[in-house]
């Protein structure tokens, strides 16, 4: 196989990964890493570096739209980025000292968690009122636009959410994924932020979190230009198509199929990790 053919095939998979990632909200990284390591036998370090770059691209691309519409809570995002960026740097450091087999196993477990989380019904929370001293001090209470005008909301459990975001950051730096599933757990289930706000704010934060660990991967030589090139462009195009058809298709069936695919990939990753094949 020549480099040209390899590039075209990887590009095709990346478009598919970006498309599915944006339709299901899981992001392209969760597909691209197992595809590269299991199917193309690419070293997992390269796969992680490549995925990090594509995560930044899709996050920035999508965040642009949400920020303009005023749905993302910028202050909440910035405050929680304290937790995710420090976590991401720690995760990227740890990645150099543990074996690739263990990284593969952790990756598989996080994949399973993400697949389950994507299938669970999201409870849409709306907490109003003045909030705690901490939320007022940090100006985390905000509003978002709805068809009936502005809706105010309050953020709960700031400390718990911050801690969970720290964990999400470590996972992101260690595995090269956006860890959107963990971020949504932190904001939806712990901080009780309305669903629309939590998903857009999470997306907004993913780029900065990934940038924090990308620097370390870059210096270590984990980011290969010839591998990253088809992946980044492919995932971007896929995500773009995804946002265009998101409103036209029924996502629920697709979500179930995608969750099953991810579950199988996860088991394969864990098996290969346990057998020291990765």
């Amino acid at each position: 196989m020549t480099i040209l053919l390899f590039t075209i095939i990887i590009f095709g998979f990346a478009v598919l990964a970006g498309l599915l990632g944006s339709l299901t909200g899981l992001g392209g990284g969760v597909v691209i890493i197992p595809v590269l390591t299991l199917l193309f036998k690419v070293d997992i370090h390269y796969a992680i570096g490549t995925s990090l770059i594509s995560v930044i691209a899709t996050s920035s691309g999508a965040a642009a739209a949400y920020v303009k519409e005023g749905i993302s809570n910028i202050r909440l995002g910035m405050f929680l980025e304290l937790a995710t960026t420090t976590g991401a740097v720690a995760g990227a450091f740890i990645a150099a000292y543990i074996s690739t087999s263990i990284i593969a196993i952790i990756f598989g477990l996080i994949l399973i968690l993400s697949a389950i989380a994507s299938l669970l019904k999201h409870g849409d929370h709306l907490v109003t009122g003045n909030g705690s001293y901490l939320t007022r001090k940090l100006k985390l209470n905000n509003s978002f636009p709805t068809s009936e005008g502005k809706q105010d909301y309050t953020v709960k459990n700031v400390v718990g959410g911050f801690f969970m975001m720290n964990v999400a950051g470590v996972i992101s730096g260690l595995l090269g994924i956006g860890s959107g599933a963990l971020k949504v757990i932190a904001m939806d289930n712990i901080m009780r932020v309305p669903f629309k706000v939590s998903t857009t704010t999470s997306n907004f934060m993913i780029g900065v979190t990934a940038a924090a660990s990308a620097g370390i991967y870059f210096k270590r030589g984990y980011i290969d230009p010839s591998l990253s090139m088809p992946v980044v462009i492919g995932v971007l195009i896929g995500a773009l198509i995804g946002t265009k058809i998101l409103f036209a298709t029924k996502v629920s069936t697709l979500k179930i199929i995608f969750a099953i695919v991810i579950l199988l990939l996860a088991l394969e990753m864990i098996y290969n990790g346990a057998m020291h094949k990765i």
């Binding site: 070293d43 770059i53 920035s60 202050r75 940038a211 980044v232 971007l236």
Partner: protein, 124 residues
């Protein structure tokens, strides 16, 4: 919140949205230009990604990337595009700092500066 504060907030958000969008488009274009160069130079060779070797020195540091990219080396041009991509969210943070300075929100100036410091630490 007074109205002046609100408009200021909205303006910064608008600029931020544009910055992110054009940052991604700009970086992607550079990556594509690099891809054309690279595939013309090496398209017929064999790939080797199975074992981790690490990248050569000239494309893992910023100065080396700039130097070799302007010599028309495909991989360096791609790497330059990827660097711009990593820089997009960083530029967004710098813009936020400016916004909070204009609003005199000292708490968030400090929070944003710390986030900025963490990212710089990882890049240095």
């Amino acid at each position: 919140m007074d109205t002046k504060h609100q408009t200021n907030d909205k303006d910064v958000e608008k600029i931020m949205g544009n910055l992110l969008r054009y940052g991604v488009i700009f970086s992607a274009l550079i990556v594509i230009i690099g891809a054309v160069f690279y595939l013309l130079q090496h398209g017929n060779e064999q790939p080797h990604y199975v074992t981790f070797l690490g990248e050569p020195k000239h494309i893992t540091n910023i100065k080396g990337i700039f130097l070799t990219a302007f010599n028309g080396r495909g991989r360096s041009i791609i790497q330059l595009g990827l660097l711009f991509l990593i820089a997009t969210p960083i530029a967004r943070i710098i813009l936020s700092i400016v916004g909070y300075v204009l609003e005199r929100d000292y708490l968030y100036i400090i929070i944003t500066l710390i986030v900025f410091g963490v990212i710089l630490f990882s890049l240095m």
